[in-house]
Symmetry: C2
Subunit: 180 residues, 2 copies
């Protein structure tokens, strides 16, 4: 996993924000030449494929400033410092949907944009959902709307690009494979 | 698609690089409060699910500095200014694999990291591949190794996290659905 390794010569920090950091690395390429790599540092995230008793997928609609539109996504959120991904997953499901889950299983992880960012999303499957008596509070800058839809409705939302992000596109294929 | 819209008050440019730009927006939230949004601007990319006559998936291994490791991905690349995604897709397939394709079809698009970036990946399926007489040149800072593997081998690579990015994880599920 070090094939074509690029060794760091210098790292220049550019920005240190609330969610991300940006740095530019000068690196030595496998042929000895030098190149620049622009790298966004992100704490990592979790996302939850939550399935109701009727086999519906639990989704949330929210505004994504980077895209200047709202999209419909599986519940997800950033990992807090030192937090186990499974803990983040339970918290985010509760905060965004008001659901707890009796069965939480780890599915797989993936990098979202390996060309310029280190963000990893850890995916979990939540089943045997139950409504929390008191819904957990969202972050104060978070506004989301809950949806519960069938596989067919989710596929229609992909076609209409209302579902329009990688983790949710993955979740819809995953659900289609389960239902075969 | 404007539900919970966040209106821009000010945009502060932070960095303008070779691949990405970074800006911080002050926005008005739906409840009237103000928040900061850190936004990475990216030109967008294409990725190609290329299937050989034997039904194998064409992949490339490359070093990803952001992850500090090499991973195995479907061929992909950045869209040049003014370029149609289908043109980028044909070019990147040729450069990274030495294959042309008689049949190129658009599959779907998705945002990779909508929480902090505007990057969209446009996915294409390439079939009826043919070897180019002369392989197109890679970018001078690009080093890739070609692989052609079965669905079962790809699923094993997902389990071993050698396949470890969102677009390729999606491609493996897509191929599994085709093969059912």
């Amino acid at each position: 996993m070090k094939k074509f390794e690029e060794l760091t010569i210098t790292t220049t920090p550019i920005y240190d924000g609330k969610v991300i950091k940006l740095q530019v690395d000068d690196v030595t390429l496998p042929d000895g030449k030098i190149a620049k790599r622009e790298i966004v540092k992100h704490p990592g995230a979790v996302a939850i494929i939550a399935i109701t008793e009727e086999g519906k997928l639990v989704l949330v609609e929210q505004y994504r400033k980077a895209l200047e539109r709202s999209i419909i996504e599986i519940p997800a959120g950033k990992i807090e410092a030192g937090e186990e991904p499974i803990v983040t997953a339970r918290r985010e499901l509760e905060e965004e949907t008001g659901y707890g889950a009796k069965h939480f299983t780890y599915l797989q992880s993936f990098a979202t944009s390996p060309g310029f960012a280190d963000e990893i999303i850890h995916l979990f499957v939540a089943k045997d959902l139950y409504q929390l008596e008191q819904k957990a509070a969202l972050d104060e800058d978070e506004f989301v709307e809950l949806l519960e839809i069938t596989l067919e409705e989710a596929q229609q939302m992909v076609a209409e690009e209302r579902i329009y992000d990688a983790k949710t596109a993955f979740a819809v294929l995953w659900l289609a494979l389960q239902n075969r």
